[in-house]
Symmetry: C2
Subunit: 305 residues, 2 copies
């Protein structure tokens, strides 16, 4: 099954209690495609500047990420810098420089216009809509992410594109903000009333909740004794989730969606063990399988008669 | 199996976004014994003042809580008042009046000295130790709770009593504070190195983690669309957990402990649906069984091959 992601490719500068990194690969499309690539090929649409190094692009290409939709534009790459305290759940943004990303107008190469799975990373909702306009046939599953900036500034546009997707990935603070409901169950129901049939509410170190019309599934985060850098965890979750489903090619039944949630939580758990993409550079399929199995040990209990 | 709880019996005054209550029944022993009573009889040791109303005592007695260890002392009952915002995870304490609880010296009636299960509610660690001194035979399971106040003020005494118990119930902020570790896995390991063989880390609306020497079990909180008043949720969790185990009388094997965690989360989920004990007043065994089953639907997924 073909998989397309449209989103940012960035250079991140990070400060955590465990170290400092400058201009390391980041961005939603980067993390998403890397995580999804463990399950199958991915097509990427994005933009970098003249200063973006070759090495991360080779890494992505080697992992099966098709970069035919990645433009190299004149100017500097999108840069984000942030700081985390010991409470690694929330980043303090120190600086954002849109650079070439500010002029990003996603253009899907002809070969990318019939994805089975489509992930609209966290970009302007208008651009997310333009991507949907370029898709020639209805994908099996369209998912999107967003953030507080778009909820505050472009709420109407956001609701328009929301009505066109199947699945929203969103963190708990953001879903409360979007729905204007403090209760997360009510907040998820608000989303389900505005288009999507699925909502994944991401809760950082506490895991994620998958809401369907009738059911809720709770996937914990994997309890790690070293969390190094949470940057990219949400996009790695989405990449693991959708990559898992695309690889199965199965109907999107409740069982598969729950397993996808666990796959998402698994890939996110690896992401945060090192800075940037570093953990993914050495990650093996066998380690993924072991952690997928460990998730069952983590959550399984005998039915209570 | 006999069950003993030693802790506070209080009058709470509460403000939440959903209403205000003045002088309603509260306290660790009250919530614990009520929750545990759905699984079997409970013996309670505590103290109230002359002003404590009869009605809640009749309620407890009718639920099978043996109040032979509840003293009525001269003076006023322990009072706590707190306020919750829309983020119901944390209370702002407005006022604490220890009153007769300040002079509380737990005395176990002769008939209470051989409990199979013992819960030491959140009181001065020295008093927790004095309760253990009065127990004539080693219980099957001794559990304790504590809070930031004792961690800050009586850390050494707390570590002494910790070495004498099997299970610590503690919330995530407190376990970090006690262990001086920011990572919750490391924090739990600190506790396991200081006596207990089990730690339950309570995470409010995010559920709880049960740490054994070799394994971790993650129990989510039940996703509720109305959370009214979180007061007593932690003690209701402990009451459901221990009541479930005592009722089974089973060996404390890993399977039973995981089920107990789900039972704890179930009783906590009911507790928060109304103020004070109100939800428990109408709660039926059938509703409990339905929610226990719903927890399986909430967390179960097909093993990933």
């Amino acid at each position: 099954m073909s998989m397309l992601v449209v989103g940012s490719v960035a250079l991140d500068s990070l400060e955590t209690p465990f170290g400092v990194r400058k201009d390391v690969p980041g961005g939603s499309a980067t993390f998403f495609s890397t995580a999804a690539s463990f399950f199958g090929p991915v097509q990427l649409v994005g933009v970098v500047g003249e200063d973006f190094p070759e090495e991360p692009l080779r890494f992505l290409a080697d992992r099966g990420v098709d970069l035919a939709g990645l433009t190299r534009a004149q100017g500097r790459t999108f840069r984000w810098s942030g700081r985390y305290g010991y409470d690694l759940n929330e980043a303090q943004t120190l600086d954002t420089q849109l650079n070439v990303f500010g002029e990003f107008r996603p253009e899907l190469p002809e070969a990318f216009r019939r994805p089975d799975f489509l992930f609209l990373g966290n970009i302007h909702p208008e651009l997310q809509g333009q991507v949907l306009d370029q898709v020639a046939a209805r994908p099996k599953l369209v998912a999107m992410d967003t953030m507080n900036f778009w909820i505050e500034g472009t709420r109407e546009k956001l609701l328009e594109v929301l009505a066109r997707v199947d699945l929203l990935f969103i963190n708990d603070a953001e879903v409360r903000q979007l729905s204007r409901e403090h209760n997360v169950v009510k907040a998820a129901r608000f989303v389900l009333a505005h288009g999507p049939t699925l909502v994944v509410v991401k809760r950082g170190e506490y895991g994620a909740l998958l809401f369907e019309k009738e059911q809720v599934f709770a996937a914990p985060a994997y309890p790690l004794d070293e969390v190094f850098d949470p940057t990219g965890a949400g996009d790695s979750f989405a990449g693991g989730f959708m990559g898992f489903l695309a690889n199965r090619g199965a109907d999107l039944d409740a069982d598969s969606l729950r397993q996808a949630c666990v796959a998402g939580s698994t890939l996110a758990s690896f992401c945060v063990e090192r800075f940037s993409l570093d953990r993914f550079r050495e990650l093996t399929r066998r380690e993924i399988d072991e952690r997928l199995a460990a998730f069952r040990t983590l959550t399984d209990f005998r039915p209570i008669a």
